[in-house]
Symmetry: C2
Subunit: 358 residues, 2 copies
């Protein structure tokens, strides 16, 4: 082994002065306070009320958060937004994947912005893991709308229960309204329960359809057609146009078989080609007429009140149920009673009593 040489440098330095800390702690503390402030209700709220989209996004994230500390914050955010809410037109838009919802929303949204409106587009899709690609989650599908400063696009609230998703969406609507959005578009996929939920939180319900395909091919769930305030047959262009016109007549006939709506409104069937920006103006005309008519006859306000009551009751009742069925003793006895019913040993009513008396 080579003898170890003592490591003495040829360059010698005198002891110098202590270098100052590279971080200015005063500035750090200032920044920290600033960051904290950003998550403060007051800061967020004033941002939201000023139409700041970053603040709005942050607010929605807090609403969607499951963390305990965010829940208190969310509550207070909502409370402070409430006096500024209720001032938009809420439009539900549904239709199966492939009907052109994203293109329609892009085209419709741009039209509204050109009329001076501020437009928020949200989604409700409790099953988002399945239909991921077909819904707003993919913002790039609305390349132009996303660039508009007066548009706000927010992908689906995630959640395992429809009730949870509905709550988050309802609260997001309140925040968007506080942020000054005039029109809220709420997209859903048209194949499940989510339509009823969206119908229960919007003023106007729009069903997008394709010509030539029966409902069975379009996967539209029973009852959705009855909820529609307008049916828009999209992709009414080129070779499709003739079929679309025929479909329009057919839907008009079918709609006549339905009893009149409580709103006094007769649902309208329209044609559109969202891709070519055709027929979109007419859709807005119909929505405006609906708004006028239901404002005048009081149905608009009445419906919102009813919707509030609905969600109050809905929340109470779903919690009562989930609390009941979550009890382990109920779970065990329920299984037993279902078998007893199947084997004709008891009736559903007797079984229910037994479970309720547990």
């Amino acid at each position: 082994m080579a003898k170890k040489i003592k490591n003495t440098s040829a360059l010698k330095e005198k002891e110098g002065v202590t270098q100052p800390n590279t971080l200015n702690m005063e500035v750090v503390n200032k920044l920290r306070t600033l960051k904290k402030k950003e998550l403060n209700v007051d800061g967020l709220i004033s941002g939201i009320l000023n139409g700041n989209q970053t603040a709005l996004s942050q607010g929605i994230t807090i609403i969607e958060s499951k963390a305990k500390k965010h829940q208190l914050l969310a509550k207070s955010l909502i409370e402070k937004s409430l006096p500024h809410a209720n001032k938009s037109i809420r439009i539900g838009i549904t239709g199966v994947p492939g009907v052109g919802k994203s293109t329609f929303i892009e085209s419709f949204g741009k039209l509204l912005i050109s009329k001076g409106k501020r437009v928020a587009a949200l989604t409700v899709d409790p099953s988002s893991s399945i239909s991921k690609g077909s819904i707003l989650g993919d913002k790039t599908r609305m390349e132009e709308l996303v660039k508009e400063p007066n548009a706000f696009i927010r992908p689906s609230a995630s959640g395992s229960t429809l009730g949870g998703v509905a709550r988050k969406t309802r609260e997001t609507i309140i925040l968007c309204e506080a942020a000054g959005f005039d029109v809220i578009l709420i997209e859903t996929v048209g194949v499940g329960q989510s339509e009823t939920a969206v119908h229960s939180m919007t003023d106007f319900f729009l069903l997008l359809k394709l010509a030539g395909a029966g409902d069975e091919l379009q996967g539209i769930k029973r009852g959705i057609m009855e909820m529609a305030d307008s049916i828009v047959i999209n992709k009414a262009d080129g070779e499709n146009l003739k079929a679309a016109k025929m479909a329009k007549n057919e839907f008009n006939r079918a709609l006549h078989l339905y009893p009149p709506k409580e709103s006094g409104w007769n649902p309208k069937t329209l044609l559109s080609s969202a891709l070519n920006n055709e027929g979109i103006e007419e859709v807005w005309e119909v929505v405006s007429k609906y708004f006028e008519k239901t404002q005048e006859n009081g149905y608009f306000q009445h419906k919102r009140k009813e919707q509030n009551k609905f969600w109050l009751m809905q929340t109470i009742e779903s919690r009562l149920k989930s609390n009941f069925y979550a009890r382990p003793s109920i779970k065990i006895e329920l299984e037993k009673q279902l078998i007893a019913i199947d084997e004709n040993r008891t009736t559903p009513f007797e079984a229910a009593e037994k479970l309720l008396n547990l």
Copy 2:
């Protein structure tokens, strides 16, 4: 005052023997036991199983009774009937007053009896105080059917809640099946919730319609058409025939717009003139085909299981709700919260939580 004369009779009698009691207590006790026996479960059940209509009527009266002592008896009656139940075809029949329900049931019932069937006709009408005259309550509307020994006609179970009426009707069905009835017809008025209830306890749902009148004139509630397994346009005779044929085509077209039913069954539109006994055989053919098809594909059994589950859950959930809302503290707070929602001071979700935490 006249002096009181001592009252001594001119006729004097010796003390006689004690007269025997005019009531033979042995016979009285025998009769008493007999009467008790008539309300004994065993006697009633053997009567019902033998198809004795008096026993069946008594059994139903016990089921409908609100007296505590009858409730235990009812429970035991049901338990003993259950092994003999589930063996009929249950057909729900609806349509607005004036569509000819009674005449249709009379004509349809007589046809079934001529085919060797035993037919029971029941009604569900929670609002019977309003539409009293238009429903089975008035037995004389079925003059001929009522005379048939193989027909059993029972007017509406009365009750203030739909849940209560539904329970009584479901239990009455069990008794009728135990009494050997092959076809149970359940009539309802076509204007309210009761259709959904009847749909949830029958195998086949038949909607009676009139030609020429829109749904709005016929008062058919939204969604009822979608539940129909067959639409029968009644009074298709004389001057009405042409309009009825046109209506048939129109309904057929409309039915095509609906997505397919879980049963795999395509609803059929038919014409009938119950008054002239025309088209009634065809209705039975359609019901028979439905029965065959759904027995084969397993839907028939599946639907009954689902219906049992539905009623189990339904009973549990409606009781959970009524227990909750009946609490005085909830009543008071609910009013307050509804006002707070209307005044934009809280959201339905916050309000629900407050109520649930009471």
